[in-house]
Amino acid sequence: MKYLFLIYADETVAAKANPTETMLPAYAAYSEAMAKAGIIRGGERLQPVNSATTVRVRDGRTEVLDGPYADTKEQLGGFYMVDVPDLDAALAWAARCPGANNGTLEVRPVWEMATA
């Protein structure tokens, strides 16, 4: 089953701790371990939320707004897509994510589409 790991953390704290220096090697090793185990299907780190733009179309009019969809205390900072046998395996991998130590991981099963 495919699961999406959504990595949430407080960007302001992370910025002060200089995450580029301390977290990057840990994330690189984590991604590599998932690749070697053959479970990773994708994943990226995102730019800070102040770079976000939201778009919606209502009654034929397009609205474009600065900022994220929702202002939250912890922000979505990155994601992984994994393919593992079950939720237990997904949670075991999520707990190893460096982001789990200073933030929160949301683990969401992917809605599997029936292949036509």
Partner: protein
């Protein structure tokens, strides 16, 4: 609560209820469900009894026998519940059973202790092995599903469902709440001990003790271990497991520096080890050996004993430890044992013989996500100067580690190896981390 019953009475009542809950919960559940085998109903009745205790005790004072008070209150709930189900076909039978229990309670001077019978039921072959430890934690100690779920890395709703299903099975399958006869005791005891060890090990995973829930789990594992060792004093494996957990717990204060950095066993400051706990563990192990029935937990305790012998003369007898692991590998083979044996061989006979032992198990698919294998491999490859392969193994180990302190430790080793090899560290490794 009216005036005149201040905070102190309420606190005293709460403290008394909590003490009763900790010391007697399992006894009460075991007694209340022994005949009906309906653990869920017993737990519901007990929860009500505890609620009424918190309401009544601040006003009337804490009773002299809180257990008996709780037992009677829970019994009344069970009888009420059985009456409400009078139309059901089993109601009459249940009422008779409850009345029977009441009569035997009145006859008993003290609350009988059938926690061991309850544990054997929870670890019965008909119960899924994965749910045995959680089931024991809930029925014997009264831990809630959410706390158990977090410790075992399972969603709380899922853990709740699994526990409910297991309790239904206990009731429907007719699993007896008793200590098995001599013929099957050994095998059945192994399942009970395994569940207790799983409890302790989950708690042990949080060495810094930063997560109160996990630390409590190690304490609960120890407590269950002491209970089984006390109730089955002639079972060497029960003594062995309790000794093993005591040895491990004795080293807890030395597993982290004050700033939270990871300290491997071989580098731990022996002055920080708990000598009283070690002495108790040694005594247990001696008693177990005298029974002359060796087993897995006694061997593991003996290995721990060999490690903590370093406190006496500053030396570790790695050859003896490797030999003990060899015995353990025969008795209960696992990747854990194989990796530890290789590590001991490396200390006793050199890095290359340790690495050869690791190569011998490399085909096991379970090693793909087993961190200690990659950490051990990295360390040995580094010692042999095979830095390229070592670097890869270090990265694999770091990526598989859940504990940030251990990740930092491995990262530091990896950087040190790179510096020694004369090259730049592969990545900037800043030790001023925010934890």
């Amino acid at each position: 609560m009216g005036d005149g019953h201040g905070v102190s009475e309420r606190d005293a009542a709460r403290a008394a209820a909590e003490a009763a809950a900790r010391g007697s919960y399992g006894k009460l559940v075991a007694f209340l469900s022994a005949r009906t085998r309906d653990v869920a109903a017993a737990e519901d009745a007990l929860a009500d009894a505890f609620a009424s205790a918190l309401d009544a005790w601040p006003r009337s004072g804490v009773p002299s026998h809180p257990d008996a008070w709780l037992m009677k209150a829970a019994q009344r709930r069970l009888i009420d519940a059985a009456r409400r189900r009078r139309t059901g076909e089993a109601a009459a039978e249940r009422l008779a059973m409850v009345a029977d229990e009441l009569a035997s309670l009145a006859a008993a001077e003290r609350l009988p202790d059938d926690r061991l019978g309850l544990m054997f039921a929870c670890a019965h072959p008909a119960i899924d092995p994965g749910i045995r430890a959680p089931l024991i934690l809930q029925t014997v100690l009264g831990l809630d599903a959410a706390a158990i779920a977090s410790a075992f890395l399972v969603p709380p709703a899922t853990m709740g469902q699994r526990l409910v299903r297991a309790k239904v099975r206990l009731r429907q399958a007719g699993i007896p709440f008793r200590i098995p006869g001599p013929g099957e005791l050994g095998e059945r005891l192994a399942a009970v001990l395994e569940a207790i060890y799983a409890t302790f090990a989950e708690g042990w995973l949080d060495p810094a003790g930063t997560e109160a829930r996990r630390r409590n789990l190690a304490a609960e594992g120890l407590w269950l271990g002491s209970l089984v060792a006390a109730l089955l004093p002639d079972e060497p494996e029960a003594l062995g497991l309790f000794a093993l957990m005591l040895f491990a717990e004795a080293r807890r204060p030395a597993r982290r520096t004050p700033d939270g950095s990871y300290v491997p066993l071989a580098e731990q400051d022996v002055a920080l080890w708990d000598r009283a706990a070690i002495a108790e563990a040694e005594a247990l192990l001696t008693r177990a050996s005298a029974l002359e029935r060796p087993g897995r937990y006694q061997l593991e305790a003996a290995i721990q004993s060999a490690h903590v012998a370093r406190r006496l003369d500053g030396r570790t007898d790695w050859a003896a430890i490797a030999l003990l692991y060899e015995g353990l590998a025969v008795l209960s083979p696992s990747p854990v044992v194989a990796v530890n044996r290789a590590a001991a061989l490396a200390e006793a006979h050199g890095a290359s013989s340790g690495l050869a032992a690791l190569d011998g198990i490399a085909a096991d698919p379970r090693l793909a996500d087993y961190q200690p294998y990659w950490a051990a491999r990295a360390g040995l490859l580094a010692r042999l100067g095979r830095t390229g392969e070592a670097d890869e193994a270090y990265r694999r180990a770091i990526g598989l580690e859940r504990d940030a302190a251990v990740r930092d430790f491995l990262e530091a080793r990896r950087a040190a190896m790179a510096a020694e090899a004369g090259s730049q560290p592969p990545s900037p490794s800043n030790s001023a981390v925010d934890r």
